[in-house]
């Protein structure tokens, strides 16, 4: 079987300026933060990001000017507060956000994965989410009469982005990817992209995958490239592997409160380090070990 492992740098190099990406993880859980750092270091431009609601990674890509368009449902650091970088970039006109709901985005990924051009759902009708759109214009969504029942339905265009970027707990070298805890929208999201890059915390033998096949949420046949990297979601969490780093998160949220503060974070933690291991060294290994998940809690 083919060994699909490449480095983080090689994986990010496959992404071209102007590409569209499905972005995995949900809320504080399994966001591919390390991939967003590498996109920043490689100075990518004009990316479009599709996701339900990532948080720190969206802030990083908006703040550094890597992404100019988001099709998302949610941006904030939940309990910590608003997304400061996104808020500033939207006000400056440097970032356009096309607003959907979580279910609408999940349905758009499901439609892309099923290879049908649109999907129906029962959300958004009657509100400004239907009446107002940005760059997608008339192609944001439509409200139709069901051809069978006559009921009103919203239909949303399916997505088949250039890449799907998903972060998981374990993978074998051929790409069988296992997810613990919740999957969020990563089942649909991993199958909708033209190419799929899987980031994983841990490399395991194929036999281990075959001894727990129910944990394989993404079979190898979907996977193009595998990047094995520890703490790829720091300062967010990866279920059963490590907890979020609340101190770092609060520092990040405070610094992004001003453009100067954000630039300081960007220079220090992203541009100022060689690679992901440079970032982890800067955060500090004693700190990272403290974050390791404890059994049976998973965080």
């Amino acid at each position: 079987m083919e060994d699909k492992r490449i480095t983080l740098e090689e994986a990010a190099k496959k992404v071209s300026d102007g590409d569209c990406l499905f972005w995995g993880g949900f809320g504080f859980q399994r966001p591919p933060i390390a991939f967003s750092h590498e996109l920043v270091r490689q100075k990518k431009r004009n990316l479009t990001i599709y996701t339900c609601g990532s948080e720190v990674d969206l802030e990083i890509m908006a703040g550094a000017g890597v992404a100019s368009r988001f099709e998302i449902a949610f941006s904030a650091i939940e309990a910590l507060g608003l997304s400061n970088n996104i808020r500033r970039r939207v006000s400056e006109g440097a970032l356009e956000v096309e607003d959907y709901t979580n279910l609408a985005m999940a349905m758009r990924f499901l439609g892309g994965a099923l290879n049908v051009p649109f999907m129906p759902l029962r959300s958004m009708m009657g509100t400004d989410m239907v009446r107002l759109s940005r760059y997608r214009g008339e192609d944001k969504l439509k409200v139709i009469d069901c051809p069978f029942t006559g009921q009103k339905l919203t239909v949303v265009p399916s997505l088949q982005p250039d890449f799907s970027i998903v972060h998981v707990q374990r993978v074998d070298k051929t790409g069988n990817a296992q997810i613990d805890g919740i999957v969020g929208e990563d089942i649909e999201g991993s199958r909708c992209g033209k190419k799929l890059i899987v980031l994983a915390e841990e490399l395991v033998d194929e036999e281990e995958v075959r001894s727990r096949p129910d944990q394989t949420k993404i079979p190898a046949m979907y996977v193009d490239h595998v990047v094995v990297l520890p703490f790829a979601a720091h300062p967010m969490m990866c279920h059963d592997y490590y907890d979020y780093d609340l101190e770092h998160l609060m520092m990040f949220h405070k610094l992004t409160g001003t453009e100067e503060g954000w630039q300081e974070y960007l220079k220090g933690y992203i541009l100022g380090v060689e690679d992901h291991y440079g970032y982890l060294d800067l955060v500090g290994w004693p700190r990272l070990h403290q974050l390791k998940a404890k059994k049976p809690w998973g965080y």
Partner: protein, 256 residues
């Protein structure tokens, strides 16, 4: 005389609206504590669901995110978004959802997206997340928000989530699964909706506030019934339980 903070009061008040046996979307923050408190007191068979994919959750520490692993241990199933927002919510199986908002209008429509004009927004807020999905399809909606004149507006800057839209018949026109908002809880009062007009109506005023305080802080004509009682105060038992649920004061604050 029970002593309580404003946060404790609001959590106890919100918790009283969760009924036993209901399937509840709890989210994070005050709504989460309200749902957990209800389960520990009058609604032991309620089922707390997080939209990220956790079902029948019993977190031993309060989650900071709907996807927080603190939701995991002790829950009965951990799945994903199509499960919760699709099969459960859009399938008509969610009884009650909690939402907050930056602005609300007289029909209970909510803005969580933009302050200022859409074309040149002053502030980009978090957006819908699952909010519009929940407002469209949960059988009932409990809205919790801070009471500020700029938040109770005649016209929203942006309508993210449907309340009763333009009034009677409008949710039906869009074949909506859910019933819309049924209660609004602020730091001054509780409001419900007049069954005839579906407009917001004062229900009770919290201790320390008057009907006039509420009217002074709303930018539309609020329906006020002849008799406006005081909102019930929390019991000592409720306060003790909520501190057991949030021992580190993540949402309750250290002082408590």
């Amino acid at each position: 005389m029970v002593e309580y903070s404003k946060t404790e009061f609001l959590i106890a008040c919100a918790s009283s609206h969760v009924r036993d046996g209901e399937n509840v979307f709890g989210g994070t923050g005050m709504p989460l504590l309200a749902a957990l408190l209800a389960k520990e007191t009058h609604a032991p068979r309620s089922n707390l669901i997080s939209e990220a994919g956790f079902i029948d959750a019993r977190p031993r520490e309060v989650p900071l995110s709907v996807a927080d692993s603190r939701y995991y241990y002790g829950c009965s199933a951990s799945i994903g978004l199509i499960e919760t927002l699709g099969f459960l919510l859009q399938g008509g199986r969610i009884d009650v959802g909690f939402l907050g908002a930056a602005q609300i209008d007289e029909y209970g429509n909510l803005n969580t997206s933009y302050i200022g004009p859409y074309d040149k927004p002053k502030v980009k807020l978090p957006g819908s997340g699952g909010g519009n999905d929940i407002a469209s399809s949960a059988k009932r909606l409990i809205v919790m928000m801070s009471h500020d004149k700029r938040k109770f507006v005649k016209k929203l800057d942006y309508m993210t989530s449907p309340g009763h839209l333009e009034g009677p018949g409008s949710r039906k026109k869009w074949s909506m699964v859910g019933g819309g908002p049924d209660i609004v809880i602020t730091d001054m009062c509780q409001m419900d909706f007049d069954p005839e007009t579906l407009k917001i109506r004062l229900k009770s005023v919290h201790p320390g506030y008057t009907v006039q305080d509420v009217l002074d802080n709303i930018m539309f004509d609020l329906l006020v019934p002849d008799d406006v009682p005081n909102t019930n105060e929390p019991t000592q038992e409720q306060i003790e339980i909520m501190h057991k649920l949030d021992p580190n004061g993540i949402y309750l604050g250290k002082g408590g």
